[in-house]
Subunit: 191 residues, 6 copies
């Protein structure tokens, strides 16, 4: 296992010491990705939080719905950037490139989504995600109307808001724990 200082400022548990379900999830992602994303190792030291975190993640990112997988990742990258979450910007930037099959999109969205090569509908989606992330207390029926004018249903609005809110949690955990992006993420999907 890698030197834990490359993972986080908190100690990382040995896989053998983990509860079976947690270890299984980690081994499954390792098999699929070829490496263990550090978020799994950082959270594994707290199995109950690990289980809840990934259950929430899957409930939002793997559910059926009108938002494409790439659009969900766009929300993650666009909101994690002003939250200055190095792990989320780098790791989900990689996933966004892969989901969108576009080697340029993640760096564009991270730097300034308003100037990215995405649709106006996607920009409206990200405007709302950013508003939820930064000043959810100002969200009003006007926002629902704007999103409806771009074809988003009320369930889509919930999805956008919940993804923004969930990764806001993730951004804060990553920043407090000094979670480091695995080196593999930086180059993935760059074509």
């Amino acid at each position: 296992m890698t030197d834990s200082t490359d993972v986080s400022r908190f100690p990382t548990p040995a896989l053998d010491d983990l509860p079976e379900d947690v270890r299984d999830r980690i081994l499954a992602v390792q098999e699929k990705s070829g490496f263990i994303p550090n978020v799994f190792l950082v959270l594994a030291r707290r199995p109950d939080e690990f289980r809840a975190f990934f259950a929430y993640h899957d409930a939002l990112m793997d559910k059926p719905g009108n938002l494409t997988k790439a659009e969900r990742e766009m929300i993650v990258v666009a909101t994690s950037s002003p939250n200055q979450c190095q792990y989320c910007v780098v790791a989900h930037g990689a996933i966004l490139r892969i989901r969108a099959k576009d080697p340029l999109i993640a760096d564009q969205v991270a730097a300034n989504y308003r100037k990215a090569d995405i649709t106006d509908r996607q920009k409206a989606m990200l405007d709302f995600a950013i508003k939820v992330s930064g000043e959810a207390y100002r969200v009003s029926e006007d926002d629902f109307a704007t999103l409806a004018s771009h074809g988003f249903t009320e369930e889509d609005v919930w999805d956008i808001a919940a993804i923004s809110a969930f990764f806001g949690l993730s951004n804060r955990i990553a920043n407090v724990t000094n979670m480091k992006p695995n080196p593999e993420f930086y180059g993935m999907g760059r074509g």
Copy 2:
């Protein structure tokens, strides 16, 4: 069941239509509290998110640890106030009054925790919780040292950060869904 417009801007499911585990959790809280806190009804329409949300909640709020139950609720109230989350300030204000057996503490913490009748150690805890909520990207080893000087362990720091982060998620969901605090909360624990 109450008029759903008193609960949230999203429709609220009938209890009979819910998956059994979700319904059981709701009935259990109703039996214990005498009413169903609206957060359960709002999230129940999305059972997977409901399950993950409350699993995360319980993992942070019911776990053993050095932070008292009252201190955990202080974190919720102190961070939900600048996030302007009406549901969380009112509902967790009630729980804080009960946990702390203090009818004044919640309104003090919600208005300005720096002026509340709490210990310096608790103010340091809330300073950090607010920093995590508002600018986690600036958290550094200096914050860990300050907290250690007040007797907080690294596990305590994780707890404070995770509670702040989790209720940041909750605040955003509540604001987007217009989640309304049940009338029962306002007067609870006022002695």
Copy 3:
């Protein structure tokens, strides 16, 4: 008299040492309320400021006009909350509950007036009060037009602005002096 540390970080004068008009005003409010709100004791040590403060207060809060007494208190609570003035949120929250004969309204307005059970006209009033409090330099004719569309006259606009501005002063004095809300305020008007 209560321990002065329960009142403010500045020493509180004995009633007998006060000029007669100041003492009379304090005794009158004590007779009416059953206790002396701490703002009177804190300011009494500077009689000229005491007189000017309450003259200004009365000129705005007791004058005839289109804004109801409850609406004026809403402005106080809504603007004192982002200013994090514990004294004003708690004390005027109590007065708001009494004026509005509504045990829930003050906590709603303090947490997020945009989600409170008040009219759209009242939300427009509070939007403007918050703008005056936070960025009066951006107030323009557009604000007057918006308020007119809700039926507010130019005199009403002055009233809203002046109440917001006056309690902004009060919020700052209370925060610098560590003015403590009397325990009596917390439960008043909760029905």
Copy 4:
């Protein structure tokens, strides 16, 4: 009398229509200054507010105390500048130049008091005044200690805070009413 549009967006009363005490105050300032500063005309339409405003002003600006007259005006100019109050920056800039017998000081303090040709003690005074103006909820015993280290008593601290708070009120009224500085102020005290 000047065209009222040169005074404020609200109509200005004729001197003859004012209560005698208000008119007398205005005539006295006119005799002393050679013109009527617009703040008197703008507020005169509401005599009770006029009386309270100037009583408060005098209680803070004319009282005995350790702060010099020039230092009190420095506080006004330094806090009115970030509040973008054109009337207060221009009118009190003039008074500051006269009080300090320094033709350059007001423009320096208005632009960036940290770079002004004033003492370190005065910069500490203005740091505190700006903190009271912008984030009084963060004021703590540390601020009192810093000010004490520069020789300020607790009464001086109250004075600084109250002047900052009072002119915060004044700044908001002036911005909402579009109060215009009289042309005379711009050149006064420039030597």
Copy 5:
């Protein structure tokens, strides 16, 4: 030569030690103005930066175009004020008074351009300049359309943006170097 502490916190070179083109430029401005504006002395210690800075300055401020000389100076004063650049507010305030032949305009624009005696078209120009200065990443086609509605061409928009951006650079250099405005500037153009 004046005491260099009146110029900047960095040492100021002797004119004789400067490259000939730099010295010639300085002597030319001295001949024209009657004194050497301190920005020339501060930058002269780095001749390559001096040359580039003034070449950029001249390319924007002396070029032909639809913006009048006075309007260009308005942009400088309006954007330098929130950047709290004492040198730029004072020095370009003087130039603005002279260009506009108006002794009051600079203090008005510095304090709050929204309340200045300028045209609506000029206020729209300054709204955009302030947006470029403070949050250029939000500039969008809507801004170009608003400016077009006031008669600004796309070249004018570039001019406004570039002047705002260039003086943003200048504001930062002046603040870091403690560049002092020459006493001569304060009274120039006051009529």
Copy 6:
């Protein structure tokens, strides 16, 4: 030549129409890099600004001095990220990777330099660069002392400040013109 909409919202001149010195500079960079970075094409339509911009750029980025070439690019990336300048983050991210011979550093610095694998001295350098970019008016002798404690000379401080200030200008021009990063930049230096 590429479709100008891939370059900027402003039309891009044909190379043949450019003044010889401007064209020569562009051809030189094309020969060295294999492509023409869009900033050259966007600015070329205004030759005087082009010349001043690149003269300033070269005076800061190519001059001798204690800051390494990689450190200068770190400043560009770290300050361009909160300014949300897509062009600068992507283009200078590429140059940073090459200068530092490190495929990971640019994405780390862009996301949150406080968590990047750089030295404490470099973090202090970037703390200062960010302060100059965001609130230069607060820069004080304390900042010079902090930087000196990390071994930076006063000339180094000027270099850091000037690079931060110059790219602040560049960020604003790029955002207003919708300057697009060339596709070549995204993958450069990723090893």
